[in-house]
């Protein structure tokens, strides 16, 4: 083996080593310490406890219900967008997908403002009914959690299922039609089987996100509804490391099974896509009146649920419910550099987010590269590693980073590097995927040319491929950045007050009823995410569907 090769292998192994040190090791040591000699409850005590059983069953039930709701609301949309053409479809579809990149805590603010007591709908109803008291509150407790989770995950169904539908060879449906199948029969016997694995994939992802959900449950659950993740956080706060580790282990086992199923699904998706000369869509006018009304009602409902909360954030930013007055105080707070003001968190958010983006891009690029390596086993090891951050509890990871890195290195009083590490890890699955997609589109002839010029693999990577995959890098960067600034779980665990980010500030402001401050900060985050989204939309040629 010559020296170049050695250097190459060394570089390729960097992300694996980093992920091992900063993800696998910390999580493993949390589990080990908690289970084996940690203070607090033992694994069996935890399993046996009524609280655990309640928490686990709530986690499951809310995740199942959220998934079903997201499926019911997303599926018609996916079909509608794949099959119908109408004016403004592109924009409506894009708008409906934005929620996916919003930080969870911002979603909470939007939900409170739209559906909560004293929110927009409630105020309207009170006005109409002439009532002094709040009439509805869909933004708290069980209902609030499930609605917010559905809001968050409808885009997954829209994206994944509609892209599967678009891959169905239209001639297959036509053959079924000419063989006598009615529209319903075609749906049941041809379309549904074709999109089944896409539906399953979207469902598993949704379930996974809801299963591990933290900020939404923390904020809307009002302490009485807790997912495993929230309970892990509580256990840490009360120093019951045994309970925290036990719960984390239960959670990891479940998510591993789900993640494994998800990866399996990706592999056996084949068959129905064929060479298609045209993709078949129908104009809205081809529907009969009742279908048209149904489609219209659906679009309105889904826009209300998806876009309502985003727009409401504007009201949240300028309307102070304590004084019932419009004010710009929230924005003034963002410029306040004193402790408790919004300026430091804003700077922190941008600083940590930028660093995390940079690192996750570097890791993502190397991962995208090893994903295509010819070395046996490396591609599948890569896809496993890349998905790992999605399946690990952020709270557990944060605690692991604390005990394996911060404490030994004396970082606990200002652990900002750990925050960056946690945020980096969360962005890796997205950046790696975006870059890999871009790489797979690069013309292999160009790369061969570089080979024949004598460039080594690495030079080739940096001078030939990187410029070619620049759009993919940009998409990956923007995705990572959106994930990083929205991250709250690990960050809230690690941060001391001087490390607070905007997401944390919003959560704390909500808790002490500083609504307008929370609103203004949320609006800023929404603006950043929308800009990010526009960039993603613009630069991912075949849509961002593949990025998931």
């Amino acid at each position: 083996m010559n020296r170049n090769r050695l250097v190459e292998y060394a570089i390729l192994s960097i992300p694996f080593v980093l992920l091992f040190v900063f993800l696998v090791l910390p999580v493993a040591s949390v589990l080990f310490q908690g289970l084996v000699y940690g203070p607090g409850s033992t694994f069996f005590e935890v399993l046996d406890s009524v609280v655990t059983q309640r928490v686990v069953s709530f986690t499951f039930i809310q995740a199942i219900m959220s998934t079903i709701l997201a499926l019911l609301l997303g599926l018609p949309g996916a079909i509608l967008f794949a099959k119908l053409r109408f004016k403004g479809k592109r924009y409506i579809r894009a708008l409906l997908i934005v929620p996916f990149v919003l930080p969870p805590i911002v979603v909470v603010v939007g939900f409170l403002q739209m559906f909560g007591s004293g929110g927009i709908i409630d105020s309207l109803l009170m006005l109409i009914m002439g009532s002094q008291h709040s009439i509805i509150d869909f933004a708290s407790g069980y209902v609030g959690i499930i609605l917010a989770h559905a809001f968050y995950n409808i885009p997954l169904f829209l994206l994944i299922v509609s892209s599967a539908l678009e891959r169905l060879n239209p001639e297959i449906e036509e053959v079924a039609e000419i063989l006598g199948a009615t529209a319903l029969q075609r749906f049941r016997r041809i379309i549904l089987p074709h999109i089944r694995s896409a539906i399953l994939a979207a469902s598993i992802l949704t379930f996974l996100f809801c299963f591990m959900s933290f900020p939404i449950v923390l904020a809307l659950g009002e302490g009485s509804y807790m997912t495993i993740e929230v309970q892990i956080w509580n256990a840490f706060r009360f120093f019951d490391y045994g309970e925290a580790s036990s719960l984390a282990l239960i959670q990891i086992l479940i998510t591993l099974v789900l993640a494994y199923t998800y990866m399996k699904l990706g592999k056996d998706d084949k068959g129905a896509s064929g060479p298609t000369a045209y993709s078949k869509t129908f104009p809205l006018s081809s529907l009969d009146a009742s279908m048209k009304i149904l489609a219209g009602v659906y679009l309105l409902l889904i826009l209300l649920l998806s876009i309502g909360p985003m727009i409401s954030i504007v009201r949240a930013a300028v309307w102070d419910p304590k004084t019932s007055l419009f004010s710009l105080e929230g924005f003034a707070n963002l410029g306040d550099p004193t402790l408790g003001g919004g300026f430091v968190p804003l700077v922190n958010s941008l600083f940590y987010g930028s660093l995390a983006t940079l690192f996750s891009l570097i890791l993502g690029t190397i991962f995208a590269y090893t994903q295509r390596s010819r070395i046996r086993g490396l591609p599948s090891l890569t896809s496993m590693m890349v998905l790992l951050p999605l399946g690990v509890s952020a709270i557990t990871l944060a605690y692991g980073l604390m005990i394996t890195i911060a404490v030994p290195l004396g970082l606990s009083s200002n652990p900002w590097p750990l925050i960056v590490i946690a945020q980096t890890l969360i962005g890796v699955p997205f950046s790696a995927r975006a870059i890999e997609i871009a790489m797979s589109k690069v013309d292999p002839a160009l790369i061969e040319q570089a080979d024949s010029l004598g460039a080594s693999t690495l030079q080739r990577l940096f001078f030939v491929e990187l410029p070619l995959i620049a759009p993919g890098l940009l998409v990956g960067a923007v995705f990572s950045f959106a994930m990083a600034i929205g991250e709250m779980s690990a960050t809230i665990f690690l941060a001391t007050p001087e490390n607070f980010t905007l997401a944390i500030t919003i959560y704390r402001d909500l808790a002490v009823r500083k609504f307008i401050e929370a609103g203004a900060a949320s609006l800023l985050l929404v603006a950043i995410c929308i800009i990010a989204f526009i960039v993603i939309e613009k630069f991912s040629e075949n849509g961002y569907g593949g990025t998931l």
Partner: protein
């Protein structure tokens, strides 16, 4: 079965491509081929007949009744589409019985019918396979069985064999023609291969740039081409598809896969072209090392010469070789061809 009358059907796509007006009628039990180069509107015509494309004008009569407003599934049509489009989530049996199932047949009756069809198409041993476990040729038979399940009155076949190798293709052509005559089913067959059209049709309608330029029996077209396109496209020669790759000494160099054929003409480099090569203009070279590589597919004795079918890069051409030379070759031989550049007609594809 059914008499089909296509009167002035036409369609203009939003991008400006316009197909038609198409006029064509089929007698009961007749097999008519739509023959034309790629993009000439064959599939579009077929899809208008099937009802998947709503024509902008004209009428379509089945036994004198206008079916323009009848949805595809009520037209009693069997169709094999260009992409074959077997249902990937079903077995071969389920594919064939699909039409019977949605028509509400009893299970027993379905089984009997599927067995009958699979017997007829010799695919009985495949019935339990998944569709990714059968070959291309078998897939075509399954698609045909599926189309025939409900005894349609009109059969539409869109280049059903274009993806198959020449031998299998000719074998299936023969089979399909036999089957069609046995069942007496009115059939529209689409192909861009002149030899295929000649092999199986009662009549051929030649399409070019969206309109039918001549309709007639193979003989009529061969003897009395009404315009240059038909003359060149039919002209007795084999049709090859290639691309202009260069020019030298006043001749075009046309690439057919890795092989190059010279021809006279002025067409820009890079254009896709259709070539017609007459059988008498091909000789098999004995001594030279230069020439077009080909392999012998079949050798058939005819009056005064042997008709030798040759495979050039997957495309089939016929050569007529005088008796004393022709008998030397057997299928499988690798040979070098000399093709006289004056005998090659070139048409630019649009």
């Amino acid at each position: 079965m059914v008499r089909v009358e296509i009167n002035g059907l036409r369609k203009k796509f939003p991008d400006g491509t316009s197909i038609g007006p198409i006029d064509l009628s089929l007698e009961d039990g007749e097999m008519v081929t739509l023959l034309g180069p790629s993009g000439s509107g064959k599939t579009t015509t077929l899809r208008m007949v099937a009802g998947f494309i709503r024509p902008d004008g004209g009428s379509l009569l089945f036994d004198k009744t206008d079916v323009t407003g009848v949805p595809p599934r009520e037209r009693k049509i069997g169709m094999v589409v260009q992409s074959v489009a077997l249902f990937p989530n079903m077995s071969v049996f389920q594919n064939i019985s699909f039409a019977l199932d949605v028509a509400g047949w009893e299970h027993e009756a379905s089984v009997t019918r599927v067995e009958e069809l699979s017997e007829m198409l010799s695919i009985k041993n495949l019935l339990n396979r998944r569709i990714d476990e059968i070959s291309g040729g078998e897939g075509q038979r399954v698609a045909l069985a599926r189309a025939l399940a409900l005894d349609p009155e009109l059969l539409l076949l869109d280049e059903p064999f274009s993806a198959l190798d020449p031998q299998l293709r000719r074998h299936l052509q023969g089979e399909i023609r036999e089957l069609q005559q046995k069942l007496g089913i009115t059939t529209i067959y689409v192909t861009h291969s002149q030899s295929e059209a000649f092999a199986i049709s009662d009549r051929i309608a030649v399409l070019n740039e969206g309109t039918i330029v001549q309709t007639g029996t193979p003989n009529e077209l061969y003897e009395n081409p009404e315009n240059e396109f038909v003359a060149k496209f039919i002209g007795g020669g084999s049709i090859l598809r290639g691309k202009v790759v260069g020019e030298s000494r006043g001749l075009l160099e046309i690439g057919i896969g890795n092989a190059t054929i010279n021809a006279e003409g002025t067409i820009a480099v890079g254009k896709n072209v259709t070539l017609s090569v007459k059988p008498e203009d091909i000789t098999i070279s004995e001594s030279t090392r230069i020439g077009v590589q080909a392999s012998v597919v079949s050798v058939t004795p005819q009056v005064g010469h042997y008709r030798i079918m040759l495979d050039i890069q997957g495309q089939l051409v016929a050569a007529d070789i005088p008796n004393q030379d022709g008998m030397k070759y057997t299928p499988g031989n690798e040979v070098l061809l000399e093709i006289s550049s004056t005998g090659v007609d070139v048409i630019e594809e649009r």
